[in-house]
């Protein structure tokens, strides 16, 4: 009897362990050929990268690789704003830009400058290649209201300083504006919103006005590419979408997620209401709508599976960190690896997506592992390759 009980308990625990553990992160696919900068017919390239605000030292291989690509593509396309970079939020970890005099101010500031440097090369300067940054929840310092706004305003000041030094960088929408802010870069119409602010919009009039403006901004004809830029993703198979191990919290974390209790998770009521706002706007357009978000530290390409969704949802949040991801409805690609995405538009009207990534070992260059920091960066940059390619239209 005792043996049977013990065996039953053992079996139940094993089942719990297997059934509730997080699946192993997907393997990075083999490299495939991507578009070359000198290829004919390319009219615009937009790079999408996110959650890049946790770099160590003066940059990491991801940002170095991106800078090199920005230079190559800017020189090859040789047209004003034909190349653009979209940073989809969480530009400074862990708590936005602290005030002058704070012990972390130098580190915070450096983390943002590391990203600014992506567009500080000669070709980028010559052709006015811009980098636009969306605010994320960490840029608000994890706060709301005036408390959080102070963090974002300080970050905004750093953008002004960078612009005064000739860098084409901007924070959109501006602090305390939910958006949408519209810019045309990299062959796409960028419609940017501040989802952290949107999540706490309790002024009905302000919200209704913002929704109306989003509707108007995305309403474009069939041949247009609209990149809806927001920090919080429209769909995700990562931790904020429910990929949570059972055991570390004994089920508390997954249960709070499922019941919509955690505000940064997709199941939360304010988050659902926000997606409802966006969904109503996406329903009324014929344009190719690509929702570009971060928040999750992984790479995901998700195709529309139901009306009201964007045609494609991209999650590009491995600019400085990566975590697990699992498949959801519509997933066409997923990876837990450092990298970014590029959207390439051609003169025949087609739009293509490429995912550039490397093995996780090349995320950062910790000084204790690599005495020669530059060597680490060089080795890391060489490891990035195109691992996924898909025609979006």
């Amino acid at each position: 009897m005792v043996r049977a009980l013990r065996a039953g308990l053992c079996l139940a625990l094993s089942g719990l362990w297997v059934g509730c553990s997080t699946p192993a992160p997907p393997q990075l696919p083999a490299a495939i050929p991507g578009f070359a900068p000198d290829e004919a017919g390319i009219t615009g390239v937009l790079f999408v990268i996110g959650d890049a605000g946790e770099t160590l030292g003066v940059g990491n291989p991801v940002l170095r690789k991106l800078r090199r690509e920005v230079e190559e593509w800017s020189a090859a396309l040789a047209a004003d704003s034909a190349v653009g970079v979209l940073f989809v939020g969480d530009n400074i970890y862990p708590n936005g830009l602290n005030p002058v005099g704070h012990p972390d101010r130098g580190r915070d500031s450096l983390r943002l400058w590391n990203q600014f440097r992506v567009v500080d090369g000669p070709a980028a300067a010559r052709y006015g290649t811009p980098a636009v940054f969306i605010p994320g929840n960490h840029d608000w310092g994890g706060e709301f209201g005036e408390e959080g706004l102070a963090f974002l305003r300080r970050e905004e000041e750093l953008f002004s300083i960078a612009r005064s030094q000739g860098l084409e960088v901007d924070l959109i929408p501006p602090a305390n504006d939910p958006g949408p802010e519209v810019v045309e870069i990299g062959g796409a119409k960028i419609v940017a919103v501040d989802t952290h602010l949107w999540l706490e919009l309790d002024d009905d009039l302000r919200r209704a006005r913002a929704v109306q403006q989003v509707r108007a901004a995305v309403r474009e004809p069939r041949d247009r590419l609209v990149v809806f830029a927001a920090h919080h993703p429209f769909a995700t198979g990562g931790p904020h979408g429910g990929l949570l191990p059972f055991l570390p919290s004994l089920g508390v974390h997954p249960m709070l997620h499922r019941s919509g209790t955690l505000g940064q998770d997709i199941t939360a009521l304010p988050y659902q209401e926000m997606l409802g706002d966006f969904s109503s706007a996406f329903s009324g357009t014929e344009a190719l709508v690509v929702y570009a978000g971060g928040h999750e530290h992984n790479l995901q390409v998700i195709e529309r599976t139901a009306p009201g969704q964007p045609n494609w949802t991209l999650v590009s949040g491995t600019g400085s960190n990566f975590r697990g991801v699992d498949e959801i409805d519509g997933t066409r690609f997923m990876a837990s690896a450092p990298g970014y995405m590029r959207i390439v538009t051609l003169d025949d009207g087609s739009t293509h997506l490429e995912v550039v990534a490397a093995d996780g070992a090349h995320q950062e260059c910790p000084s204790d592992q690599y005495p020669d920091y530059e060597t680490c960066l060089r080795v890391g940059v060489a490891a990035f390759e195109v691992v996924f390619r898909r025609q979006l239209r």
């Binding site: 706060e143 408390e147 249960m255 709070l256 919509g260 209790t261 505000g263 199941t267 939360a268």
Partner: protein, 183 residues
């Protein structure tokens, strides 16, 4: 919508830890009058553990109910400001029950378990009916199970048949512990 700013949440957590430990110890000291050694058996520990588990669930119920009324948690760590006092009280209550009313432990646990199950099921149906979002049924279940757990535990405790199990010939076992609290 998100209520408390981060710096206050951190301060609240520290305060909650201090308050919770004090509460739990006070409750055990007040209610857990020592029984003969045989009475201080695994039942007390089981009751304490069950109380802690119930406290964790009630914490989730409170957080979930607040989220439904518009005040979501910013991140998982914020649950500690709720969990510690509730968990400490329920752990203390469970331990005290096991120490002083051990003959009621079984019925209380059984009542709680039945109440939890019924509350979960009813909550799912109610949550699905009143909230349209996908998390609605889950929220209903978490809240409903919390209510059911409380109602079931109380009912089980009150309806439990008690009998004298005292045996004065055995000496009480004294439990002592020291907590290295850093404040």
């Amino acid at each position: 919508m998100y209520g408390v700013p981060a710096h206050m949440r951190r301060e609240n957590s520290r305060y909650a830890i201090r308050a919770s430990v004090t509460l739990a110890l006070s409750l055990v000291a007040l209610c857990g009058s020592p029984k003969p050694a045989t009475a201080q058996n695994l039942e007390a520990l089981a009751a304490g553990a069950a109380g802690l588990g119930a406290g964790v669930w009630w914490t989730m119920s409170i957080a979930s109910a607040r989220a439904r009324s518009g005040t979501v948690l910013y991140e998982i760590d914020d649950i500690f400001s709720y969990a510690l006092p509730v968990g400490a009280v329920s752990f203390g209550a469970g331990l005290a029950l096991g120490l002083s009313e051990e003959e009621r432990v079984g019925e209380t646990l059984l009542g709680g378990a039945v109440g939890w199950g019924v509350g979960f099921a009813v909550g799912w149906v109610v949550g699905d009916a009143i909230w349209e979002d996908p998390a609605g049924p889950w929220a209903g279940s978490v809240i409903g199970a919390g209510v059911g757990l409380l109602a079931g535990s109380l009912t089980g405790f009150l309806l439990a048949e008690t009998g004298s199990v005292e045996d004065e010939s055995r000496s009480p076992l004294t439990l002592g512990f020291t907590l290295p609290l850093p404040w």
